[in-house]
């Protein structure tokens, strides 16, 4: 499964309705993700992708596509 679909599955596990999510979906305006939910997402990404997430960098992602891009480029966990 590619990163896009793996991330969609993570969102499904976090109780999002993923049917309406595409790369251009805005995380804040359309999905109503606030800073607390970003923190929750960050921990699950770390666990599932075995990467190190910088919370401040993660918060820069505006769309789902940008989040996919961030996860792809994030450094591997030691």
């Amino acid at each position: 499964m590619d990163t896009h679909n793996r991330l969609l599955e993570i969102f499904r596990g976090l109780e999002f309705d993923v049917d309406d999510i595409s790369d251009s979906t805005n995380l804040r305006d359309e999905l109503d993700i606030d800073s607390t939910e970003f923190a929750e997402i960050a921990v699950v990404i770390e666990r599932e992708f075995l990467v190190m997430v910088d919370d401040a960098e993660l918060l820069q992602a505006k769309t789902f596509g940008e989040l996919v891009k961030y996860v792809t480029s994030a450094p591997r966990a030691e």
């Binding site: 976090l14 109780e15 999002f16 607390t36 939910e37 923190a39 929750e40 921990v43 770390e46």
Partner: protein, 423 residues
């Protein structure tokens, strides 16, 4: 004088979903208390409870809301919105009440421990990064109040009361006072409790008010208010809310008027040793008398007392003494019931549930019986309603008694609206 009426009720309790289910349960005089299966209770002194098993949060609320919140918030949000729907009220827009003129008052004792226990275990086992970022906001007792306001867009006053088992009564009293002071036209007032997790249950156990029961005990018979064999309370989970409203506001919008909140009083025993109450019930009787005075009625005009009935022997005894003092020469004539034994004492939601039932009592002219009261303890010479519901004609005024650890006392009088208006 501003008058406060009840225009809606909602409840999720061990009796089921809705106030009708609760009413049917208490009319039956039979208890739905059961052996706990939410966690393994075998190490605890009390192993029975009222469980709101009919309530599955995912049938009522979105998954993203559920993951952020504890079950005590789920129960509260559903009960509060049920009450609002019953009152026919909408908030905001051209037809709804102004969001600034509606308030929320909630009673709760324990907080959201089902959520918190899971996360604290993760904290100690796996470290802080594994703790849900929602832990802090899911646990704290004001979480239901906050989430009700957020979901409904409420901009008025909002408060949570933590006053042990009288928390819900405090919320109702403060709601009535908020309306009398002109600070809101409508208050969503009630309480919520979810004690069915290992640590929360331990808190109840160390509070020393639970009825000791092991795996051989008959769950239905464990909670025996005022009975010769009373041995303590059986607790339950649930939530109940009432819509309290300024009378003119209710009339102007053509709302149903279910009852009037005519009297209330709060006080505290201030008694040593700690966490006990006065054995003679003098201060509690003062709260009863003051609430009748505020309602403008004498003891002879009371149709019924809805007693606290914790079944803790020393509390039952002091409540009987308090009632004898407050009712005076009418003590033998005023029917007394207590209904928590039918579904469990809901702690912070207990008095709101009592008040929702009192609304039904006023409507139907019926006094449901005390479950498990076979023979009153020696000296408990009051007119207890036992066995079957009793007809009360006319049914005008119900005195509701509530108390908590440390001598917290709270009383309310609910009156039939026709009793106060003559129409």
């Amino acid at each position: 004088m501003t008058r406060v009426v009840v225009t809606g009720t909602g409840a999720v309790t061990p009796a089921g979903i809705g106030v009708d289910a609760l009413w049917e349960r208490v009319l039956s005089g039979r208890s739905c208390v059961r052996r706990i299966d939410r966690f393994d209770p075998v190490s605890y002194r009390c192993q029975v409870a009222g469980q709101a098993d009919a309530f599955e949060a995912k049938q009522w609320l979105p998954g993203r809301f559920i993951k952020r919140t504890d079950r005590f918030t789920h129960l509260a949000v559903v009960a509060a919105e049920m009450a609002l729907a019953d009152a026919g009220l909408s908030i905001g827009g051209t037809d709804g009440i102004a969001p600034e003129r509606i308030a929320v008052m909630v009673g709760n004792v324990l907080g959201g421990w089902e959520f918190a226990e899971r996360e604290l275990r993760d904290l100690w086992v796996d470290g802080p990064r594994e703790v849900s970022p929602y832990q802090a906001t899911a646990w704290f007792p004001a979480a239901p109040q906050g989430n009700i306001c957020i979901r409904l867009g409420i901009k008025g006053r909002a408060r949570t009361f933590v006053a042990d088992r009288a928390s819900g009564a405090y919320a109702l009293v403060h709601a009535a006072e908020t309306i009398v002071r002109g600070q809101a036209d409508v208050v969503i007032a009630g309480g919520t409790e979810q004690p069915l997790s290992p640590y929360a249950w331990l808190c109840c156990q160390t509070g020393a008010f639970l009825a000791p029961t092991d795996d051989t005990a008959e769950p239905h018979a464990a909670y025996r208010p005022f009975d010769r064999s009373h041995g303590g309370t059986v607790v339950g989970e649930g939530s109940a809310f009432l819509i309290l409203e300024r009378l003119e506001h209710a009339r102007d919008r053509g709302a149903q008027i279910l009852a009037e909140v005519t009297g209330w009083a709060l006080n505290t025993d201030g008694y040593m040793p700690y966490y006990t109450s006065e054995p003679h019930g003098q201060t509690m009787s003062t709260a009863m008398t003051k609430s009748l005075y505020r309602a403008g009625i004498g003891a002879d005009e009371l149709s019924c007392v809805l007693a606290d009935g914790s079944a803790v022997p020393r509390e039952d005894a002091s409540e009987v003494l308090a009632l004898k003092t407050a009712l005076g020469s009418h003590a033998g004539q005023v029917p007394v019931t207590t209904l928590k034994a039918s579904y469990g004492h809901l702690l912070g939601a207990a008095t709101p549930a009592d008040a929702a039932i009192a609304v039904k009592m006023l409507k139907h002219g019926l006094i449901p019986p005390v479950a498990n009261l076979s023979r009153p303890a020696p000296g408990f010479s009051l007119d207890f309603v036992t066995g079957a519901p009793r007809t009360a004609e006319p049914m005008r005024h119900v005195l509701i008694v509530s108390r908590g650890l440390g001598g917290v006392n709270a009383c309310l009088v609910l009156s039939g609206h026709s009793a106060t208006t003559g129409g």
